[in-house]
């Protein structure tokens, strides 16, 4: 766990400037989409653009007061990505038949809710280190969240049982579970890191862990397999296990853990391939995507992926222009396949810019992890950025046929409120961690004097697990 010095400058003005550019991108995209309509500047357009700008401004002002030294580029990048996603979902709504239910209004509502939740997270959690107290509570919360879809509350959509019905709509508890799981892994690994590192036999260049230290890894594996078996959701199961493997590798820097993890994935994947027809169908439609019978097979055909690829080909280098292509021909163009929809209308040049924005966002998360001084914060920032990275890889790799397509959401873009909510909360946590990473060390006395009565005034938050025994 290395430490890197950072420049002690608040850089909020840079953030304000970048926010202006990001909002121009977001609102400009929405405007270009509506250009073909008779009245592109209707009240909905102004309401949406105005609300987005207002929320961004509130967020920015809050950062000035609460997290002055937070990373200046995270918020503008996320606003731009969210805005482009909203514009594309609105554009796909315009192509819907007149009687269909539009998606954009609910997605916009979820954006405001998610940004509100993110602002609330910043207000409630002033220091990310307090989350360490909730290490085992987050494990329980994760377990409950993952179990919820299996209770009578759960609803099954397209064969996967990962949603619950919350009255006004459906919610995907697994999206929030990835945050609580990251908190648990970070707390557990930062406490037990030395034990895991030092104990165990050496076998050639590999240091094998003790069997009892393997227990959490086995637990994470069982959770992933459980999600795969009972909820039939390949994407989330890859995400949870990948998260744990990445975090244990960051904590211990032992290759043996990665090899053990990959072996466990191979075993689990082989078993899944033998046991579940839908996994086998996924693999088949990945390898033989262009066979006519695979293309037309329903369910489990490759039609969706191949249509997406045709869309990308139609877009070419500079794209057809927003609102000019036919991304609506692809099924689930506004959720799973939003990357191909954007690739068709913005072309390779636009898609690369979007991928670069993701890369920059993820690299800022890792940069916060490098800069912060506490092990828990390092692991949490790594884990949260890695979930975004893994989701991007699985989705973009899936729609471009690099790997089999699995149903994960594109962070900040896909239609789906739970994913948006979870990712905005992740943004708040990354901002908090980057604030502790970049804030300059206090010079001079922390406090002047302390008398008996006011002993606890300004006392820095001490970790209750490390309290004095005497």
């Amino acid at each position: 766990m290395s430490e890197v010095l950072t420049v002690p400058k608040s850089r909020r003005n840079v953030e304000a400037l970048l926010l202006v550019v990001a909002l121009t991108v977001a609102i400009g995209a929405n405007w270009l989409v509506g250009l073909d309509k008779e009245n592109p500047f209707d009240s909905a357009f102004w309401l949406q653009g105005g609300t987005l700008a207002a929320l961004a401004l509130i967020f920015h002002i809050l950062l000035r007061f609460r997290a002055k030294y937070a990373d200046p580029v995270i918020l503008p990048i996320v606003i731009a990505l969210n805005g482009i996603g909203l514009a594309m979902i609105y554009r796909l709504d315009l192509a819907l038949p007149a009687d269909a239910q539009p998606v954009a209004p609910s997605q916009f509502l979820w954006t405001t809710v998610a940004m509100g939740a993110s602002i609330a997270t910043l207000l409630v959690i002033r220091d990310h280190r307090m989350l360490r107290r909730f290490t085992y509570i987050s494990l329980i919360v994760s377990a409950v969240l993952l179990m919820l879809p299996l209770t009578p509350l759960g609803v099954e959509i397209n064969g996967a049982r990962i949603w619950i019905n919350v009255g006004v709509g459906t919610f995907q508890p697994g999206e929030v579970a990835k945050i609580t799981l990251a908190i648990f892994f970070a707390g557990y690994l930062s406490t037990n890191r030395d034990l895991i590192l030092l104990a165990g036999k050496k076998l050639g260049p590999l240091q094998l862990p003790r069997f009892r230290d393997l227990a959490p890894m086995v637990a994470a594996w069982l959770v992933s397999i459980g999600v795969l078996i009972f909820q039939r959701d390949l994407g989330s199961s890859i995400l949870f296990f990948g998260l744990f493997m990445a975090m244990i590798y960051v904590a211990t820097s032992r290759v043996s853990w990665v090899l053990i993890g990959l072996a466990m994935i191979a075993v689990g994947g082989y078993a899944a391939l033998q046991l579940f027809s839908h996994v086998a169908l996924r693999i088949d439609s990945w390898i033989n995507a262009f066979e006519p019978e695979v293309f037309n097979r329903n369910p489990g055909g490759s039609g969706q992926v191949v249509q997406g690829l045709f869309g990308l080909a139609n877009g070419g280098l500079v794209g057809t222009g927003l609102g000019q292509g036919r991304p609506d021909l692809v099924t689930y163009a506004n959720s799973d396949m939003i990357i191909t929809a954007l690739g068709e209308e913005l072309g390779l040049i636009g898609l690369f810019a979007i991928v670069l924005l993701y890369i920059l966002l993820i690299s800022r998360g890792f940069r916060a992890a490098l800069g912060t001084r506490d092990g828990f914060g390092k692991l949490l920032a790594c884990g949260l950025s890695f979930t975004i990275a893994l989701q991007c890889f699985v989705v973009i790799g899936g729609v471009t046929r690099l790997i089999p397509l699995t149903g994960l959401t594109t962070p900040f873009m896909s239609a789906g409120g739970s994913s948006l909510l979870a990712n905005w909360i992740i943004v708040a946590l990354l901002l908090l961690i980057s604030e502790t990473a970049r804030r300059p060390a206090v010079k001079g006395p922390v406090r002047e004097t302390f008398s008996e009565g006011k002993q606890n005034r300004n006392t820095p938050a001490t970790d209750p697990t490390r309290e004095v025994t005497a």
């Binding site: 810019a353 940069r367 606890n456």
Partner: protein, 158 residues
């Protein structure tokens, strides 16, 4: 709207996304310099007024250059004093992590001011003792004077 305008707007939007990407990258340029070099350059008067915590104090001409643990589990440990504050305690983030059951997580803090080092207690359970007297406020530490934290005793040495 004419085809020409639409085409221009299309390319304009692609340009705009790339302007965002490139301005983000250029905002990060300073961050790519890792290490001590990005600490150079003192803040201007205006910056110092707006961000008082940026003002670097003149490096302490401290006679004390080393911190030695003279008693306790870490006996014999030595630490070179730079111009940055030192946190003492059992927490992992402490500069000197005390393996002492009678020390608090964030127990005490040594910091340079002027040409001297000061010690302050951070609200520890068992207190910090400078030459046998419990600290109630930040006090200067002269070289050779023992500071007791739990079962650990440290001294500053020239």
């Amino acid at each position: 709207m004419s085809d020409l305008t639409v085409t221009l707007l299309r390319y304009g939007f692609l340009l705009l996304i790339w302007i965002l990407v490139l301005s983000v990258v250029s905002a990060l340029r300073r961050d790519l310099v890792v290490g001590l070099r990005n600490r150079t350059g003192s803040p201007t008067a205006r910056e110092a007024r707006k961000h008082p915590e940026l003002v670097e104090e003149p490096p302490a001409k401290a006679q004390a250059r080393r911190l030695i643990v003279t008693e306790g589990p870490l006996k014999g440990t030595a630490l070179d004093l730079a111009s940055s504050p030192i946190l003492l305690g059992r927490a992992q983030e402490a500069t000197l992590v005390l393996e002492d059951d009678y020390a608090s997580g964030r127990h005490a803090r040594l910091f340079p001011q002027g040409s001297r080092w000061f010690i302050e207690d951070l609200g520890s359970t068992n207190g910090t003792y400078l030459a046998g007297n419990q600290l109630t406020r930040a006090l200067p530490v002269e070289p050779g004077v023992p500071v007791r934290i739990g079962k650990t005793v440290i001294e500053l040495r020239p």
